[in-house]
Point group: C2
Chain length 192, copies 2
Amino acid sequence: MINYPNGKAPLSIKTKKATALKGGLANRGMNFEAAINRANAYYVAENRAIITKRPTPIRIVKVDYSHGAHITDAYFEKQSTADYNGVYRGKYLDFETKSTQAKTSFPLANITAHQIAHLSGVIEHGGIAFFLIDFAVRQEIFLLDASFVIECYRFSNRRSITYQTIKEKGFLVPEKINPAIDYLAIVDQVYF
Amino acid sequence: MINYPNGKAPLSIKTKKATALKGGLANRGMNFEAAINRANAYYVAENRAIITKRPTPIRIVKVDYSHGAHITDAYFEKQSTADYNGVYRGKYLDFETKSTQAKTSFPLANITAHQIAHLSGVIEHGGIAFFLIDFAVRQEIFLLDASFVIECYRFSNRRSITYQTIKEKGFLVPEKINPAIDYLAIVDQVYF
């Protein structure tokens, strides 16, 4: 391979494609959440849905009030609910987003028992609950109904769900220009 | 008045009643939010609804990673949505809680244009949106539909809504032992 002026190899076609998807999907793992936030901003602007990210809960230890309220000591806390919730076509939506570098399976380790209980309650009360799972290396995002994840979490000994199973039970979210991740198009198909 | 051993006068009957409402309603302004949180915990425990508080958004400036993730510099940000949302009887709920020390009116100054736009969107997409307004001095809590507050905010020059108007347009939330503020009983009446 020849050397390029900046010492780096040119972007592969696949990376180029991802870069073109102006959603920061190039650096997927890190930007998956940002792309979801952009989709939500798009939905609000288009008057399609009101879906917001729950801020990461923070335990505040010390606040300095000498010049306004300045937090000087605090820690991140674990989210006991899911990342996003909101209202769409009269229905309550609640979902968790996860990006994985793994190719063949989605690990359940990052999902807490609190989150499972939360999503299970959402379904019981008539809400729509799902996971958006980003297989970063494959550049594929799936919507997977939470009831299936809950079942796997509670009643199986598996510590992960295989890519193959997600492909069968889930729904591929096609990537577009704007919004890059139009997950409500899939919500329409699956839940309405 | 005689002196009591601890140097303090006895609690008035009104304060005693409030203290008995084991919801911290004694120190109302400060504890109104805590009482709503307890009601929500009660609703989850009783499998009645899933309603959660949105954490206050915090802008993080500096994180020290030398011993885990320790936030050393951060600021509170204004909530651009409402305090609480969730699912109840298949419907999306979104509401803001406000406690006021005023006796004759509820000031609109603490409500932002973002919050009004948010709640307006919620209604448009089929959700239920309201305010829970605590008149701390009167020891009275009212549920007021957001559409009325939005109307006042947008189309009138008033910078507050009178107590009398809230009493007419809103619904008194009776205080109980557990939960102290059973606002879903009023939601049942008003929206179902």
